[in-house]
Symmetry: C2
Subunit: 554 residues, 2 copies
Amino acid sequence: MPFTIGLDYGTNSARALVVDTRNGRELGTAVVDYPSGHQGILLNPSDHHLARQSPADYVHALEKATIEAIAEAKQADPSFSPDQVVGIGMDGTGSSPIPVDADNAPLAFQDAFKDNLAAQCWLWKDHTSIPEAAAITAKAAELRPQYLAKIGGTYSSEWFWAKIWHCLKVDPAVFDAAHSWVELSDFIPAVLAGVSDPKQIVRGVCMAGHKALYAEDWDGLPDKEFLSALDPKLADLRDRLYDRAHDASVSAGKLCDEWAAKLGLPAGIPIAIGEMDVHYGAIGCGVDEGTLVKVIGTSTCDCAVVSADKTVADIPGICGIVKGAILPGYFGVEAGQSAVGDIFKWYVEGVLGDVELHAKLTEEADHLKPGQSGLLALDWNNGNRTILVDQLLTGMMLGQTLYTTQAEIYRALIEATAFGARAIIDRIKEYGVPVERIVCSGGIAEKNPVLMQIYADVTGCEMRVSRSSQSCALGSAVGASVVAGVHADFKSAQDAMTGLKDVSYQPIPENQQVYETLYQLYRELHDAFGGVSPSADLGHIMKDLLALKATQSA
Amino acid sequence: MPFTIGLDYGTNSARALVVDTRNGRELGTAVVDYPSGHQGILLNPSDHHLARQSPADYVHALEKATIEAIAEAKQADPSFSPDQVVGIGMDGTGSSPIPVDADNAPLAFQDAFKDNLAAQCWLWKDHTSIPEAAAITAKAAELRPQYLAKIGGTYSSEWFWAKIWHCLKVDPAVFDAAHSWVELSDFIPAVLAGVSDPKQIVRGVCMAGHKALYAEDWDGLPDKEFLSALDPKLADLRDRLYDRAHDASVSAGKLCDEWAAKLGLPAGIPIAIGEMDVHYGAIGCGVDEGTLVKVIGTSTCDCAVVSADKTVADIPGICGIVKGAILPGYFGVEAGQSAVGDIFKWYVEGVLGDVELHAKLTEEADHLKPGQSGLLALDWNNGNRTILVDQLLTGMMLGQTLYTTQAEIYRALIEATAFGARAIIDRIKEYGVPVERIVCSGGIAEKNPVLMQIYADVTGCEMRVSRSSQSCALGSAVGASVVAGVHADFKSAQDAMTGLKDVSYQPIPENQQVYETLYQLYRELHDAFGGVSPSADLGHIMKDLLALKATQSA
């Protein structure tokens, strides 16, 4: 009776999941909130771009969540024993690089740096590195256009090199003290494996891929000449990083004695390679060719795969097309929206100031027809990750009258995220990535049928929901089952361990038609404010919305 | 000791004011809410354009408010006697036409029509007549371009002919039953004077002016050939309306016995001609050449005067330049914003759902610097009256992040109305109407120093507040004092009866500078969404706002 454990490091908490590898049954789970900062995030009140996390929180959560999940599994099934755990896998947010010393210990563990924000983990949604990202894009356009082609045309402030370079600029003492930098999703497997030399960490190609500009085409990380053109110190750092990154067919190591003792697990069991949360989430949702997986949380990440036998062109605005990034043997295609749940949360909790309103507004929004509110919004409160790849964008709402209601605004924000989702789907389909249905994961997908129906109507795709409400952790457990040899490959592991809920959201033709009109208006605003359309004729937008409102209110 | 009574018919209530003509002392006042509908307005839930009012409410308020104001005056000063009242004046919203029968009784008084929305007063902010307004504009462009030149280029759905034509289209039975149509501000003086034939009503040029396309240049109302081109029934109606309209040097009649008895006032005292509320409000604020009066309420009306000796060009987008409309001997220039207080009310009460928040948000907004929020809004939740003259426009808010607060949005809405105010000032100054200072009236101006300072900073003008908090009613009382012969002319009546509060808001140079930048961005959005700029390059807007936000947050 082999079990595996999947660990999932989210934005505000970490989760451990004990899974039966024969059928995906989830025996025990535990969530540990990161204790530091605001909901686990270290902020700077005078700079809303800054978002860091304490590496100590990660280690704390690793121990606590795993032990509690095992305890719950024992309680759920007295016949379960931790001895039956044959592998462990982990996923995390990214790019979330951590500066470490020569012993692979985070600098933040040192007294000198423990309160220094630059010495913490640079959380994925930290956007302080916007100037560096722009400079990397500009320099690559000049010297290495092939880099840009691979990443959709624009290097992001959310990624590895921009963050590290920004650190070098704003806090050179931290940069100089850092022997190396490790992604969160490489760091936790390395901790479990007891790796005490950053160079020995088995790094995942998933995070290396576009985020660190790693590609086999150019022999790994960006060459030193290019890095020197940014800053010679970055070229020096390259030597202390890594030469090769791997897909999930490779193990990240074996559980070391120290951590085996801490967790009460057998020493020596294999550790799956770390992947980005949503990549293992896609696996946990049963991703395959033709199925787009959307992990809908604070932000959204979209994952698709295309067989590595095929040729996939570089897609403008789509940053992540990396072989092996999700499933071994497939190109992984990754896209996303910088804020989805966060926008609803901002509106309900930040603006309306009442967390209880989510349910009420969802119900009221359900009674509105598409177009009835006359509102149209852009979903850029946290910038636009795909397809504009521009963090210097903000939200927008248009069409307010003196009678616009709370619920109308709520629905318009949901619709805005649906339009953003559609912009991504249209783009990848245009470049040959098949999308026949969408499988979603995350609390919003499970709890908000109004949103799911709107997404079906806007995208024109059937929307399904992953059976597991912990798809990322489940995907990590799937990965562990493969490196443990329980399943021969990911396909058979997914068939055994993953599934869908019964509910299916089908597009409703009359809604689709209205949303087609609204989406075209959305694209006009999108292109105008996104800088794609430098001579926009927008005088008709409010009038078209009012006309639609009149029709849909009748 | 001569006193006059001023009556002011606002959007939700009517007010009576007993004034000492020697010094403007306000001896007694009373406000009566219109009892019908939602806050006095008859609505149609499925058409937010519709806003009507019950004529019976007007008559009810006339009696109740006057009697109560007299009672209060007696209480305030036992030596006061109603016998000392020498004149009565009245102002009202407009264009608010009422269909009446051949005896000058509103159709709504008849059982057959009492519940018919089309038979009520068509309140100024009723926008159901958008198609008719557009058709009048188009037909005038073709046949009578001089009409359009006089009204800023566009006939409004808020005005007389559009409303009546819309009635003819949607409810011909009401149109056919109506012997004539009377503006609210002509109706109440006619009631007081006991006029029982609509043709005998002494109409004010203030309301006739641009709203009914009345001008001496073309011998009064639009000619029958033009009206026939709209609908022959409108040409027939012209015969039953009026030939001449008058300025405030003419009296609307004398108080009839019936109403003298009802109100306890001397029969035969003169009644001032009715003017639009804000026109008498401008007089009550001491309007003269160089002083722009802003009556800030649910909407805003801007009034300026230019000596009739001068030549004032037609001003594009400024609908009301009518000789005698405000002060006899001056061109009255009227402009306005379709919603100001209504926008704050909508946001605080309609969206946030808590009327108590006004004070808290005002205080929080006061702690923000210009540009600090990164937000920029358009003030079009109720359309744009000046300078675009387009009701088919809606609100807009741009620049939201995940950290945007309630108070930031509140301030952005105040700023949006200030930018709208500046657009009007810039336009009239450009065409030679001097604006050296601004005198405001209305509760918002008195109670919201944050708004007043923002307006000073955005417009670059000193902002003052009228001494009276009932400027419109006071202006009516001033008008009454002139027709009663207490004062020789309006100038001396204003000198005696009106004044300013001590407080003065001066522009703060560093704020002015930031608002100059923001106003230019506002104008780009204004022109793009207003249809003035058909090839807008808006890709920089969000970036500029973020840059300003960064600077102002530092």
